[in-house]
């Protein structure tokens, strides 16, 4: 494995771990403290769709670099 690929794999893993942690915390807050629970579902959808697209893009470029 190339040194760049190793560094990139570490960065990629750290980013996903950071992102998953923050998303869990945000979801906890939204569910725990929202005054009108129905309203927060729309927000969760927007956040989820945006994050999903960005994660997919990130993974795609990671694989393009790492895979031969």
């Amino acid at each position: 494995m190339q040194p760049l690929s190793i560094i990139l794999s570490i960065v990629f893993g750290a980013l996903l771990a950071f992102f998953a942690t923050i998303s869990t915390i945000l979801n906890y807050h939204w569910k725990q403290y929202e005054l009108h629970p129905g309203k927060i579902k729309k927000l969760q959808r927007v956040y989820g769709v945006g994050a999903g697209i960005l994660c997919a893009t990130l993974t795609a470029f990671y694989l393009r670099i790492v895979l031969p």
Binding site: L4, L8, V11, L15, F19, I22, S23, I25, L26, H29, W30, Q32, Y33, E34, L35, L43, Y47, G50, A51, L54, C55, T57, L58, F61, Y62, R64, I65
Partner: protein, 176 residues
């Protein structure tokens, strides 16, 4: 989560004005667009940077994706802090919830009968034009003063508190 007493209903609730969160969003959007400017306006940047981007395009897009993902998360953290900051007036109490950060939350409440003075403070051109400002509520309780920052239509909120205060005082006198 706020638990209301039996028979208690929310009369009014408000959040901070939208302007501060909009400004934060615009700043983050500008930060997100900076790396994309390398593609659209390459001549603005030094030739060395252009060469690096041209040589490793996949790496560049990987970095851009990570950067935008990071900003996306930062925006939603800011938005959560904004959204969970809420000021509530019920028939019996005023409740001020301040979400300071993801792990910092301050909830203060006072019975309406304990409200003594209400002061509205609107400072600056933009707050005057868009009608938002601070509300200082002096109470007789342990938490002497409530400061509700950047709320829209503070004069209207003051009137609602004053009206609810009168009703609560009348009810307390009737019950005594």
């Amino acid at each position: 989560m706020i638990t209301l007493h039996p028979g208690e209903t929310i009369v009014f609730e408000t959040r901070r004005h939208w302007l501060p969160i909009a400004v934060e969003g615009i700043v983050l959007l500008i930060f997100a667009l900076i790396p994309l400017a390398l593609l659209v306006l390459p001549h603005v940047f030094p030739p060395e940077i252009q060469a690096v981007v041209a040589r490793s395009r996949d790496l560049f897009f990987f970095g851009v994706s990570a950067w935008i993902l990071f900003l996306w998360v930062v925006f939603f953290i800011a938005w959560t802090n904004y959204y969970l900051d809420i000021f509530i007036i019920t028939e019996k109490r005023i409740i001020d919830i301040e979400q300071i950060g993801l792990f910092s939350r301050d909830v203060a409440e006072s019975r309406l009968e304990n409200v003594e003075d209400i002061r509205v403070q609107i400072t600056g051109v933009v707050p005057s034009l868009l009608d938002f400002g601070n509300l200082h509520i002096q109470t007789a309780g342990v938490q002497r003063e409530f400061l509700v920052s950047d709320i829209p239509e503070p004069d209207r909120v003051r009137d609602i508190i004053a009206k609810q205060h009168d009703l609560a005082t009348q009810n307390a006198l009737r019950a005594a």
